[in-house]
Subunit: 391 residues, 2 copies
């Protein structure tokens, strides 16, 4: 039995479309959220008249009838898929079968998410179906507000994340320094080694990761550089872990900055300022405030000390070079945005707050926690010391 989605229903009314249509595999979070179904290949989900219908291949049919949240499951073969596939590229036959499925369901117009494939949109349009992309990102908006159950899932992932961070910290603590480079026993300690230990720790807690950042020195200042090679003493090491739970599919996210040995006065100053910015963000965070207001509070702190931000220079690579935070859920980056133009926050939004300072060629520092927005502030889902971790 599918859930009901009043925001989507009202979006359909406002845009005067008959249904909301998704054509994607289960890795697409809108697809997984609406269908409750995960499949490696693309399938179609329609939300119309309060019902969720799935259109799947025969290979998926049996499992979809029991494992999905759909009210109705239909098969491609009901809509002439095999006859069509005998006459054309089978990849296109599915799009034509989708047009027939919509006609059969009495759907003449659909609203689709921004990522909806142009190929399917164009085939549907050729068959008289009006396809309008959803400029409101309504499903993303719906997904951004988490239920108690979703928050519990995210918290569970963050617990695994903290365990992994503790294992990483312990490795850095146990390391010795030889010629400025970290060693474990006779081996040089590298980003890769720390990353592997983080991943195994996550795995033991039913979580996976595609990647995580263990970046030392200059790499720490390069956006989305995961880091590689030997770790150095007396310089900041940024560890940013964003695991996903394998069963629930919900992400978590956290960053801490470590120094093995002695941080320079400059790095200590950076960190203090990042921490001040973090406190400013938390003091601002609550339902009804905009994501932009939280970002402004953080930029104010950095700019007051003369550091550039994206607000003062949209292409800066030094200073505070990111926005303050982002939503986390079935995607690791999702709505809402704690950034310029960031939308109004609602109770149940789960967001990161991640101020940092960076300098190309040198490195950087970052603090990142994960929080639930509440009516009078926030609940912090992160339980890990948030000082500069000098080990």
């Amino acid at each position: 039995m599918a859930l009901s989605y009043p925001r989507v229903a009202s979006h359909l009314e406002q845009t005067d479309t008959d249904g909301y249509l998704i054509d994607a595999d289960g890795d697409d979070s809108n697809q997984y959220y609406l269908s409750g179904y995960h499949a490696p290949d693309s399938f179609v989900t329609l939300y119309a008249d309060g019902d969720v219908s799935l259109l799947v291949s025969n290979l998926e049919y049996t499992r979809a009838t029991t494992d999905s949240d759909a009210d109705v499951v239909r098969q491609l073969s009901e809509f002439g898929y095999w006859e069509k596939a005998a006459e054309m590229d089978p990849r296109n036959a599915g799009k034509l079968a989708t047009a027939d499925f919509l006609a059969d369901t009495g759907i003449e117009s659909v609203s689709v998410p921004h990522s909806f494939p142009t190929s399917t949109a164009d085939v549907l349009r050729e068959h008289g179906i009006d396809v309008v992309w959803d400029e409101e990102y309504v499903l993303t908006e719906v997904r951004a507000v988490k239920s108690e159950r979703e928050i519990a899932h995210i918290r569970e992932t963050q617990r695994a994340n903290e365990a992994a961070m503790a294992v990483a910290e312990e490795l850095l603590e146990r390391a010795t320094v030889d010629d400025g480079v970290l060693h474990l026993g006779n081996e040089v300690l590298t980003s890769e080694t720390v990353r592997e230990r983080i991943e195994i720790t996550l795995l033991e807690r039913e979580c996976g990761m595609n990647d995580c950042i263990v970046a030392a020195g200059a790499a720490a200042a390069r956006g989305h550089d995961s880091g590689s090679g030997p770790l150095e003493a007396n310089a900041p090491i940024i560890i940013d872990i964003f695991p996903r739970h394998k069963r629930t599919r919900y992400f978590a996210d956290m960053t801490r900055t470590f120094v093995k040995g002695d941080p320079s006065d400059r790095v200590k100053e950076w960190y203090e300022l990042a921490h001040e910015a973090y406190e400013a963000a938390l003091a601002t965070l609550q339902a009804g405030v905009s994501g932009e207001a939280v970002d402004r509070a953080v930029c104010d702190v950095f700019e007051a000390e003369g550091y550039p931000t994206l607000r003062t220079d949209g292409s800066t690579e030094d200073g505070f070079t990111s926005s303050t935070g982002h939503g986390v859920g079935l995607d690791v980056h999702e709505a809402p945005h704690l950034a310029q133009q960031g939308e109004k926050l609602e109770a149940g939004h789960v967001v990161t707050v991640e101020p940092g300072l960076y300098e190309q060629g040198t490195g950087g520092v970052r603090i990142e926690d994960l929080l639930v927005v509440t009516d009078d502030g926030y609940e912090n889902l992160t339980e890990y010391p948030r000082d500069l971790r000098v080990v």
Copy 2:
């Protein structure tokens, strides 16, 4: 320095478009292949006049200039991104900046992959750019033909896969049977336990997996059911592992069927027939033959013994309920297709051959190897015994 893509160039000529355009994150294999760049958020890649150009956010700029295969890297901020983002939803500002980037580059028409976002296509069209989706799937075709280097990457992933399969087999071998259920020591042996050991083994070899199938009993007959709970004796257990190498991003794929205890005569018959079908596929496989011909050879074997196939009944859930195989590369399912309407095979295609027999409510058997198509046959990338593994 980007590679050149003569097939894409000739596609552009034939479709009379100025460039091939991708708007996706680095998890999209067309994007990663053409740009040589992996980023967690969407960015734009253009192939035109033999050059690859990237359009990225300021956060990605520094890394993109050094880590991508692009000839040219541009920033969104060069095309008024921040000014636009101040006036509209920033997610839409990037699409407008893309339109300006194309205008600046003298591009008036683009061919796009089938998955190209409808939102970006419609915004570009509103700005006078002709957007045509690529019905030839040309980049998919280009990706299907692997270089020696790519084949070496896939082989490396398959070696890790074999190590993981051996660890799974050893677990089943060591298990004892109590009341028809497998145990390790005092613990019931479950699909989940085997899956975790497989994943840790992969990880130690720099490979990851999103999922893998360890399906016993009825679950083995349900398409893409990963399996869960206690493993039973005397019934087939299908183990299907499709890992991805973390560094190269290339997948591999293999399936074996195990029985702890005594397989029934029926299961032995199924397996012998699946093995006969496997041999028939390999006898057919070579460059110049169509993927459909290989699939026909397999269906012939099953149909001769009275089992339904997708050729006799497109919606069958019993018998041979899948097609014979698929390409493997940066995607675990990609071109070419060993299936009805399957395209002509070329030397350098890397494909699975995976015949099996299934019965809803009972279970199934499957053999799956990974092979490179060559001019006079194939090279098998899989080194693992392919009999029914009775342990």
